[in-house]
Every structure is written in C-alpha cells, then in structure tokens.
C-alpha cells in the first residue's frame, strides 16, 4: 500500500464555514478514521485476544502498525470552526476562546451570558 495522504482527499470539498489547509487536513483525517474504524477495531481485538495463536496476533500487530497514519484516531485535532485555530477550543461550542468570547458578547450563542456581579 502506498502511503499518501492524498488518497483520503475527497474529489470535491464538502466543508462550509471557515476553511484553511489545516482544517481540510484535519477533516480528511476524520473521514479516514471513520472509514477504517471497523478494520482497526478488528485488528485490535485480535491483538488483545490471548486465545488466538501467537502468529496471528503478531500478524495483526504488523498490519495495524502498517496502516496509514491518517487512520489513527490520535491524529485528529479539534480546531475552531469559525477561525481554524488549534488552541484553547471550547469543545461544547467548537470555537476557540476568542471566537467564543466575541460570539457570546454578540449574543450568537444561546444561553451564554457574560458574568457580572
């Protein structure tokens, strides 16, 4: 298998909202993970199952380690939906702290209010 990141790139960009290269890359990774998750889980099951022959388990280990890095769930990074920023993301709103603050003050986030007492 040739390991090229381009093979996970969709033919047509299916994102809306803020888009930059890092957002597209992260989205491609997420798509790849979703596609290959059953395969990865099957291999992981085989590796953990001590009742299987040692040879089979070793082969499963090898196969899992040779899968493309983009199919690895640890590769995803939560990025801001409104700005593409990769740091200090408020997970519930998928925004980074600055976008969250601006949208909250503008009243665009339901139920969010600036604290004042």
């Amino acid at each position: 298998m040739v390991k090229m990141a381009g093979m996970f790139r969709p033919r047509r960009l299916d994102l809306s909202g803020f888009i930059n290269t890092r957002v597209i890359r992260d989205h491609n990774k997420r798509m790849a993970i979703e596609q290959t998750e059953p395969e990865r889980q099957a291999l992981r099951y085989m590796i953990r199952n001590t009742s299987l022959p040692q040879r089979v388990r070793a082969q499963a280990q090898l196969q899992l380690s040779q899968m493309h890095p983009y199919t690895r769930p640890t590769q995803v990074k939560n990025r801001c939906v409104a700005s593409g920023h990769g740091r200090s993301i408020v997970r519930a709103f998928r925004l980074n702290r600055f976008q969250f603050r601006m949208q909250a003050i503008a009243g665009e986030l339901p139920g969010v209010q600036k604290a004042s007492w």
């Binding site: 994102l15 992260d26 979703e34 059953p38 889980q41 992981r44 199952n49 995803v76 998928r94």
Partner: protein
C-alpha cells in the same frame, strides 16, 4: 452457598444480558468489541456543505433558467473595451510575419552604434 451455584448464576446472567461468560478471566479482547464506534462523532466536527450556488445553477440549467455568470460578464466587458479602441494595440508584423518590437529592450538600444 456452593461455588458451582454462583457460577451457574453468573452463567445464566451472562446468557440473559448477552455477556461473555469467562470464569477463567482469560484476556479475550472483548472490551474492544464492547467499545462504541467513534468515527461518526469525529467526522461531524466541521460543518458540512449542503447546497452550493453551483448546484443551483446545474439544477436549473435544463429548464433554461440562467444565473449571473461573472466570467461571461468579464469577457463581454473586455470586448466592449477593445471595440471602443481602448484595448491593447496590436503588435506590428513585417511582411515575413515576424513580430517587430515596438519598444526594444534597453540593452538593444545601447548596443546600437552611436551616430554624431
């Protein structure tokens, strides 16, 4: 209570709730099979494109409904400009069809012999 009775109880419990009965506590990797798939949740992070302007254009094209085409508009505007004589001048051509330079490059001018 006898150990075998407890084992029987656990066995029937596992049968009812469709769990894996494993009294020897072997490592069978069933915890991997119990995990839920995370893919759908992961891939739903970024907002997806639903309908684009191009999709609208393509769906209404067979009905004869056209939309504003920016490239076509630019092209027609450029034609109008050149018709009014405001466009770029045509390059001069000699009889042999070679292009004569209107503005020869700087280095050629200085290479010519000076006449006094």
């Amino acid at each position: 209570m006898a150990q075998s009775r407890i084992l029987d109880l656990v066995k029937s419990q596992c049968r009812i709730f469709s769990l894996n009965f494993n009294p020897q506590r072997l490592r069978l990797g069933n915890k991997i099979l119990r995990q839920r798939l995370r893919g759908p949740a992961l891939s739903a992070w970024y907002p997806r494109k639903t309908v684009s302007f191009r999709d609208l254009q393509n769906t209404y094209k067979p009905l004869g409904l056209t939309t504003f085409d920016e490239y076509e508009d630019d092209r027609e505007e450029a034609i109008q400009v050149s018709l009014r004589g405001k466009g770029r001048p045509k390059k001069k051509r000699s009889a042999a069809g070679n292009v004569i330079l209107n503005n020869p490059p700087y280095r050629y001018i200085h290479m010519q012999p000076t006449t006094n």
